[in-house]
């Protein structure tokens, strides 16, 4: 320290506070640690205060995403359709999957619903690391980021759902009252995805290798989830623990619920080769939603003050 700044030290406390250390001074005037993690209730309040930001951010990102592509928003519809086409080519035509009635509607529902969770996981993994500039510039609850990205996926899914409805109608499945069940099922899945996205956001912010690993994890999950085959039809002979795991797999739970809601005829006893719906699926879905949100939210909040480090 220089002699000049020692003679006129503007930093040292004067008057009655003279001689107090930095820490003592901070304690005396009740100063708080900057950027400290707020309690979970205060954090939730803060997050609720930013709800408009979350929605505005999600909408803005969705609009911005395709501004440079010539076909623009058309890709939101084309991408899942191309996916369905590939699966139909392999599993419907080449492998001749004729056990499931209305196979195209079955397959497309599976693809779209799995895509919802898959993209939420992928976006969640990058939610913090891709938005570090925003996190280092402004102070807001970091949970806004993964949640906003899940909202983006929800908005995209709603566009896909319109396509799906057209596909279902074209397959000759009539509109029914059960279609209303799609709404609670999607809400539960949205909740599950949000929790998952929060978990992945924390992991992804610490371990940048995660985004390389995730495609393989997600592909394995997809093949285990009965997107293109019937789990009930193929696991009949398995021992019960494995059958249980296959049944309560959240991805298959949500898929099954939406399929049942959109195309109950597939599960009807009057249909040849009809599918069976496992019991208690709504409760399992609700359970997944609650567990995922509660665990994900707390897990994410625990590292709140560290996300700026990158």
């Amino acid at each position: 320290m220089s002699t000049v700044s020692e003679t006129i030290n503007l930093s040292a406390p004067g008057g009655v506070d003279a001689g107090l250390s930095q820490k003592q001074l901070a304690d005396k005037y009740g100063l708080k640690v900057s950027g400290a993690r707020p309690g979970i209730v205060a954090y939730t309040k803060e997050l609720w205060g930013r709800r408009h930001f979350i929605v505005a951010f999600a909408t803005a990102r969705l609009v911005a995403q395709y501004t440079t592509a010539k076909l623009g928003q058309v890709w939101q519809v084309v991408t899942p359709l191309l996916n369905c086409a590939v699966f139909y080519l392999v599993f419907g035509l080449i492998l001749h999957n004729r056990d499931i009635p209305y196979y195209i509607a079955w397959l497309c529902t599976g693809v779209f619903i799995f895509q919802f969770t898959q993209s939420a996981v992928q976006a969640g993994t990058r939610a913090i690391s891709d938005n570090l500039w925003l996190i280092r510039a402004l102070h807001f609850p970091r949970a806004c980021m993964p949640i906003a990205f899940t909202v983006i996926q929800l908005q995209q899914l709603l566009i896909s759902m319109v396509v799906l409805v057209v596909i279902v109608l074209c397959s000759g499945i009539p509109i029914g009252i059960t279609w209303l069940l799609v709404i609670p099922a999607l809400l539960l899945q949205f909740g599950f995805n949000t929790g998952l996205s929060l978990i992945m956001a924390r992991i992804g912010s610490k371990t940048s290798d995660m985004s390389q690993l995730m495609p393989f994890v997600l592909r394995t999950w997809m093949y285990l989830s009965g997107v293109m085959y019937s789990i009930q039809g193929n696991t009949n002979t398995w021992s019960w623990p494995f059958r249980l795991i296959m049944t309560i797999n959240p991805a298959s739970v949500f898929m099954e619920l939406i399929r049942h809601a959109l195309a109950p005829v597939i599960y009807s006893h009057h249909t040849k080769n009809h599918q069976t719906m496992p019991h208690h699926l709504w409760y399992i879905a609700l359970g997944w939603c609650v567990v995922s949100i509660v665990f994900g939210y707390i897990y994410f909040w625990k590292a709140e003050e560290e996300y700026g480090r990158g």
Binding site: S2, F57, A137
Partner: protein, 273 residues
């Protein structure tokens, strides 16, 4: 603020006199160290076999470089003060501000503040693909304003930025803006709110003369409403005009902390205390 050198000298003398009184601290920085971890900095060591070796031997990847940006800085800022931070590029000034704002965690030491300080950076987040209008709304919401507040402030922000002086630019995507225009809009958004502790990073050096005068006036207003203002700038005159106290940081260490004219004078002459 201070129009003549005499005024500035008076102001600095006043600050020195005040230092003997009991003052209310608003920001206490206690022996702070900040370390950045940079991934992928060291090239050439990225082969798969060496990565596997590291995994097995549990050694730290050489691709992660640690940058010790701030090394043990301590100071206290008080209510009503305007503090300038100076130093050469990469000396750790902006890092220090981010840490005070609570955006960067400290490795060691503590930063204690009165309320939540707000960082007003010209590099604050905006989306290039969106129109200026959307960016204004988004920025205000991110700062915690309600949609009603945003609506009420919107016109004021756009007028202040002067974006529409040369046509309806506010309805165009921000990637069509010149860098000066973008910086002006960013500053206008950030300055729309009042703060207890205000941290300003290089805001005064952006924009044309007219805008610089407007933004200086706005900072004076904010300073009246705010408890304490920190200003990082390479424009020494801006520091002289706005701050009575200046902290000089070099390679993450505090070189000097005192009245502005003295510290900036030494800094400009290249002298070390």
């Amino acid at each position: 603020m201070a129009d003549t050198i005499v005024d500035r000298a008076e102001r600095d003398a006043q600050a020195v006199a005040n230092a003997k009184q009991t003052r209310i601290p608003t920001v206490v920085v206690d022996d702070v160290h900040i370390v950045y971890k940079v991934h992928g900095a060291a090239a050439g060591k990225g082969s798969a076999t060496s990565a596997l070796n590291r995994l097995i031997s549990r050694k730290r990847s050489p691709a992660i470089t640690e940058v010790h940006a701030v090394r043990g800085i301590s100071f206290t800022a008080y209510k009503g003060e305007a503090v300038g931070l100076i130093g050469s590029n990469g000396s750790g000034k902006s890092t220090m501000l981010s840490a005070i704002a609570g955006l960067l965690p400290t490795e060691r030491g503590g930063i204690y503040t009165d309320g939540q300080p707000s960082l007003l950076g010209v590099n604050a987040a905006l989306m290039d693909d969106l129109t200026g209008e959307r960016n204004v709304v988004l920025g205000c919401l991110a700062m915690g304003m309600s949609p009603a507040e945003v609506k009420a402030r919107y016109q004021e922000i756009v007028d202040f930025s002067g974006i529409n002086e040369k046509g309806e630019f506010i309805n165009l995507p921000m990637r069509t803006y010149s860098s000066g225009m973008a910086a002006r809009l960013r500053f206008s958004i950030a300055a729309a709110k009042t703060h207890d502790v205000l941290l300003i990073d290089e805001a005064l050096s952006t924009g044309d003369q007219a805008f610089q005068r407007r933004s200086e006036a706005r900072i004076r207003e904010l300073r009246k409403e705010a408890g304490t203002v920190f200003l990082v700038s390479h424009n020494n005159n801006a520091i002289r005009d706005t701050c009575e106290r200046t902290i000089w940081i070099e390679t993450g260490e505090l070189i000097m902390d005192g009245p502005t004219d003295e510290v900036v004078g030494m800094y400009e002459r290249g002298e070390r205390p």
